[in-house]
Amino acid sequence: MPEVLKAPLTVEFPFTRSLGPVQSAFLTGLRERVVLGVRTGDGRTLVPPVEYDPVTAEEIRGLVEVAATGTVTTWAWNPAPRRDQPLDTPFAWVLVRLDGADTALLHALDAPGPDAVHTGMRVRLRWAEERTGAITDIACFEPYDGEQGELTGHTGEFEDPVTGIVAPARLDYTYSPGRAQTAYINALAEQRNVGERCPSCRKVYVPPRGACPTCGLATSEQVEVGPHGTVTTFCIVNIKAKNLDIEVPYVYAHIALDGAGLALHGRIGGIPYDQVRMGLRVEPVWTEGARYPDHYRPTGEPDADYDTYRELL
């Protein structure tokens, strides 16, 4: 069996967040070098703060300042920091209960090695030099054996509060289309459309999925379809899509290749957009080195009769 294709897939997006009153105060506080928690109905102080009391479900808004010193409640050593983590040298992930708080905050502890870290150790917050109102305004924590940090007496009211943040997200995958689609993609490189036939319903899937979704059976019998096909339905696209270098208007069509059990999607060219019609007979137009046909163009054959493609819309 030929080798199955694989390629990296990176999913990356800068999400925005509206903070609401409590997170707004917390992050604005960090910008101003103040750590704020909230007071719950039963008198505990939660850091980082939440908007709703975990016990009573009541809205909580009473902000309380806590110290920038605290105690490690548990930890894990990170020997190989990854991109965008708080430190680029090995460090400990720690939960720190800041002095004055009843809950612990997750952050990084700058320590020379795991032997230098223990539960119960005293630590101090290290502020980032550039602060914008984000959790990264805390650069990290560091070991500390001095007095408890002093409070500034801040009320949590700020001029120019931070109300939103951008939270970039990135996921790195290795993607494989699997056996059936690998065979399809390899055949496309030879400008051939090769699908697979279901052993039960006999329908040909192009692209093949390795199984028939209707019958639930694995497929393996390869069948070449096309190259001619029929436009079964379409729309005329009048707005330019991002990342697509196609002049508008253009026609986006469902095309049933001859012998295929369902339509695939493609662009129609070689004909004015307003003359494209259901039933138009088309063939693929390839460009050098492309993985897919650039578009489909009329073959000049008479239009297909509606009844021949009405199940393939």
Partner: protein
Amino acid sequence: MSKEPVAVVGIGQTKHVAARRDVSIAGLVREAARRALDDAELGWADIDAVVIGKAPDFFEGVMMPELYLADALGAVGKPMLRVHTAGSVGGSTALVAANLVAARVHGTVLTLAFEKQSESNAMWGLSLPIPFQQPLLAGAGGFFAPHVRAYMRRSGAPDTIGSLVAYKDRRNALKNPYAHLHEHDITLEKVQASPMLWDPIRYSETCPSSDGACAMILTDRAGAARAPRPPAWMLGGAMRSEPTLFAGKDAVSPQAGKDCAADVYRQAGIADPRRDIDAVEMYVPFSWYEPMWLENLGFAAEGEGWKLTESGVTELDGDLPVNMSGGVLSTNPIGASGMIRFAEAALQVRGQAGEHQVDGARKALGHAYGGGSQFFSMWLVGAEPPDA
């Protein structure tokens, strides 16, 4: 042993808008949940379980947001679960919650669905650049527009039907204080003059992108007896699914939709939906889906749905009002959109729909679909409890 009858005793939603920058996601869901509790005159302690739904996590990029929303929804120490069925999720979520009551697992359940589209990028979330695959050549409307053309070909409907639906739904939205779009100067001419985006779909025939949440309190007979306002009773509910693309798929009138409706009607004893149902709130993100779903749901014969729209039957004062709230065309926080449909059906039979109330509505259908016409969820609610 028969099922426990399920009653809707509380409904709450946010004022749907393009961007709620003043609240976090927690603050948004809280607002809808609090309004539903107030409607039912209940407190957090009266709720036994929470069932929540939203569109895929990629939309806002918060993985499993239900975990952090437990505090905001009073779910600490209670069962909380999340339902995933793409755009139909608001409906499916309500049905999962209803089934917990019907099975007597819980007495009173809070169910809620939301989307904060302003913090999201739905188009990006749905079309990741998968290696080796041909990029999709059009946006969401481009995906659905060929199906609309197929419907027009099959039914012979005049080109104007889509604009009639949009004009109606936007006018209905003017009567609904929670609707996102309030186009006070809307005219049919304006709809018909709006730009053609994905021919045959015009700009004014597409849904907006909204921030919003919708919540309902579902309860058993005992809970309904204590309710301060008339409940809506669930008379039938069902879900069905099928692949987005498969050989033999009827994208114009999917089999899963027909089967789902037939199941609901069987449960509710509906022999003739056109005659027996007083109002319908269905998921119409592009205007042409109104006549398409009218056929799929059995309100008209195949190819005849557009005639109901054209003759005014689906207007608010028509014989079979459709999308009294203004519909998805006027409000679309994707994850919540299905539940808003279900909630509107319940509001109607409770007589609580305000200016968009259908006089004498006794039975109403709520409908949702999602994915590429892949998931369907529906419920039928009535002013009277089901027969014992």
